[in-house]
Symmetry: C2
Subunit: 196 residues, 2 copies
Amino acid sequence: MARIRTGKDGSRKEVIVKAAVTLFYEKGYKAASMRELAERVGVEAASLYNHIRSKTELLHDICFNVANAFWEHIHVVELSDARPIEKLETLLRFHIRQMINNFEEVYISDREWRYLADPYLSNFHNQRRNYRKRFAAIVQQGIDNGEINKIDASTSVLIVLHAVSGIESWHRSKFKISGEELEEHMITILIDGLKK
Amino acid sequence: MARIRTGKDGSRKEVIVKAAVTLFYEKGYKAASMRELAERVGVEAASLYNHIRSKTELLHDICFNVANAFWEHIHVVELSDARPIEKLETLLRFHIRQMINNFEEVYISDREWRYLADPYLSNFHNQRRNYRKRFAAIVQQGIDNGEINKIDASTSVLIVLHAVSGIESWHRSKFKISGEELEEHMITILIDGLKK
DNA sequence: CCTACCGATCGGTAGG
DNA sequence: CCTACCGATCGGTAGG
């Protein structure tokens, strides 16, 4: 679940990364300042740099933590011998749960990754494209064996993945249904929409 | 379709707003600078201020143009005597077409409105909430008369509206299906997913 | 529409 | 971990 890597000074850095997650989520990466981050952590801005290299490194850590979690999950799903429609449901439930339990990180990695600097930017972009391709391949298998409606596979993936990101609004809603209910509703709408 | 209002110096301001739309879309509001906007328009930064009041006013114009277009559309839909499921499809097709034809403005108004300054910020927020409430009310009518699957109406709205925003990725894809195909695919997945 | 320029704030470094 | 401070850049104004 997007574990933060621990080094020698792991616990101190973890506090900073955690505060950065909340700050970047609340303000957006560009609008978030290192001075406000420092204030939330309880140190002067300059002191942050004993634990991190740069603002961009914080963004990088967050984005790749999230990306790797999805990366590892789809790998496991691909190896299973479930039917394509079942694999799809497994993938979708993972996305939904990540958005429910870990939504700040996921939200940042979704919306702010474009501010990564360039060796990382294109790495991230490639990883993201590769993930979606593999996701689409599973949808395509479902189309080929007749379980899934015959609509463009990569378009289906776009729709489904963006629908999941709507959970961010659910978090901010005052009259929330439970996470379990939300998950079932989303599965109903999206899987039923894809099924033949 | 999110027409830009024309004043005395309408044509000049229109050029600036149009360039701002592209710039804000490409870089994000906070990362976009007035100096780069000026460069794209072909004047010095200071000269922009003969036509606009502030950077925030540009964002405001863009956001409210978009919001008003949806606002007017749902009003017409509400007055029609179609069945709820048909109203829903009409609303959805309007969202899809706006995202296809006008996606930069819609994208900005979706993701950058939080940077509006405060009388406008809460106006926008209220207008947005009101829109979603009315959208949800139509879904609820469909649930009540048995046309639509019995799942939480406002959750359905979140899912559906966010799914539509996935069209932004379609724009950037190299192997695009046509806009018409895309619209039909989205309607298939989402309306079938909602139908009983 | 331009030149000249303002105060504020940014990410980050030096040195202890 | 702090004080002190850097160069760069920001949105915006004055004055012509």
